[in-house]
């Protein structure tokens, strides 16, 4: 399955005060002003949207927009 990166970005943009084209792969949650609860909520939304499971350990390593896109790609590969 090819994941819709635009969809991922739409979900993130909805949570932060920036434009979609500012959302580069290396933009970190911290830079985007997302605190710990926001990050948890974001991961939960990705799980629901893409029908995947992200464990707490995996979630801890997700720091940037690119990290999120990559883990979704990986989890939806099969």
């Amino acid at each position: 399955m090819v994941i819709d990166e635009e969809k991922v970005k739409d979900i993130i943009v909805d949570k932060v005060n920036c434009e979609k084209d500012e959302l580069t792969s290396d933009a970190s949650f911290q830079d985007l002003g997302l605190d710990s609860l926001d990050s948890v909520e974001l991961i939960m939304q990705m799980e629901e949207e893409f029908k995947i499971q992200i464990s707490d350990n995996e979630a801890e390593n997700l720091k940037t927009v690119g990290d999120v896109i990559n883990i979704i790609k990986e989890k939806t590969k099969s």
Binding site: K15, G33, V40
Partner: protein
């Protein structure tokens, strides 16, 4: 400890009668009702289909732009608290700095808290399972978050707490602020209460306990009718109010405009029933006499009694008996009435809003009316000379404001002209 005097230097209000003190005061003097048919959800199948809802409320008017996103995670009771606090702090001209912030505190309560978030997330839990419950569930439902979130917005670092006494929460929150200033634990306290419980689940609960008015769904503005023979329960409402309480010397030193003095808040417990008042008004009487004695004020010095007066058959009767007992020496009764005839019952926020009204009464030398007495319940022993239906112009030096909460929490705040 009692050498410190507590004064009020700022007021703020969000209510069915408007979202500023000026608007609310004008509407009160015009005898306007804030009650209408419920708009925020379909209430057509409920026995009571009316409420005092807050209208034209915009989050962005009361938060800095950077806080709006975070604020949206929380319930309206937090936003109403923020809005009322912002107004009050601005009116007080209070500058909060690194140097003074630890001496400024917050005492802000709610009765029901984030009931909308609570209900919404229970539905998520039931439909999608526990893994889908938002991490914001706890911050959004806990009632102390109004006090917490407001402190974050204004960087207020003094004592911060939240008392919960149902419909008496406002007065108890004011009382806690008074005590902290008098005991020198703070110089300034932002105090008040807020409520956003005009929601389906709370409407169901209040309806099913037969607490609400059900006979006037087609003429909502006449439904809240304290002292009228046809009164049949209270009308649910929402809102918030905040007061800036301040040590008298502190206020004088910074040249603040003093709106009134908070003499004290008298309190008592009914120890009688979960939801019914003592039928003879014993709890209310004890609360008022505590306020008068502790504040060293005589009952006949009070120019206006702002009643709890929720428009329930038993409550208005018990409170009337208690007030009459204060005047059993034959002295003339002062003006009295319930502004809930216009605002409806904002639960926790009611006594905070009524404190604001009491102070505006002192400041403007005007007693607001008690509307909707079509057929006076004469068994209460009060006549229309004291239950003014129109605003009355007179020197208002002392006001006593009562509030009583489910659980038997009684409170009587006395404010004084200064």
């Amino acid at each position: 400890m009692n050498s410190r005097r507590v004064v009020v230097t700022g007021l703020g209000v969000i209510s069915p009668l408007g979202n500023s003190t000026g608007e609310v005061w004008t509407n009160l003097l015009n005898g306007k009702s804030g009650i209408s048919q419920i708009r925020s959800f379909d209430a057509s199948s409920y026995n009571s289909r009316i409420a005092g809802e807050v209208k034209n409320f915009n989050l962005a008017d009361f938060y800095p732009p950077a806080s709006v996103g975070k604020a949206k995670k929380l319930d309206n009771f937090v936003h109403y608290a923020q809005a009322a606090s912002k107004q009050a702090i601005e009116e007080a001209g209070l500058e909060i700095t690194e140097a003074n912030s630890a001496r400024i505190g917050i005492s802000f309560g709610t009765g029901i808290g984030g009931i909308k978030s609570h209900t919404d997330q229970v539905l998520v839990f039931m439909k999608k399972g526990h893994k889908r419950v938002t991490p914001y569930f706890v911050p959004a439902v806990i009632g102390n978050m109004a006090a917490g979130f407001v402190s974050i917005q204004f960087k207020i670092k003094g004592p911060n707490a939240s008392l919960q006494t149902a419909c008496a929460t406002g007065n108890h929150s004011i009382s806690y602020g008074e005590l902290l200033i008098k005991s020198n634990k703070a110089d300034v306290m932002i105090v008040g209460a807020s409520e956003s419980a005009v929601q389906e689940i709370t409407l169901a609960g209040f309806c099913n306990m037969r607490a609400l008015s059900t006979s006037y769904n087609e003429s909502p503005e006449t439904a809240s009718r304290p002292f009228d023979k046809g009164r049949d329960g209270f009308v649910l409402a929402e809102g918030a109010a905040a007061l800036v309480l301040e040590d008298y010397d502190h206020a004088m030193k910074r040249g603040a405009t003093i709106l009134a003095e908070l003499v004290t808040v008298g309190m008592s417990g009914d120890a009688n029933d979960m939801v019914m008042p003592c039928s003879d008004g014993e709890g209310a009487y004890l609360s008022m006499t505590n306020a008068l004695t502790q504040g060293q004020v005589n009952a006949d010095e009070i120019d206006y009694f702002n009643f709890h007066g929720t428009s329930t058959p038993l409550g208005d009767s018990a409170e009337s008996q208690a007030v009459l007992r204060l005047f059993s020496n034959g002295k003339d009764l002062p003006h009295m009435g319930s502004t809930k005839s216009m605002t409806g019952h904002m639960i926790a926020a009611a006594s905070a809003v009524e404190a604001v009204i009491s102070i505006l009464s002192i400041k403007n030398n005007l007693v607001p009316p008690n509307i909707n007495i079509f057929d006076l319940d004469e068994s209460l022993g009060l006549d229309l000379n004291v239950l003014n239906q129109e605003p009355v112009e007179k020197e208002v030096k002392y006001v006593l404001s009562n509030s009583f909460g489910f659980g038997g929490h009684n409170s009587s705040a006395i404010f004084k002209k200064i």
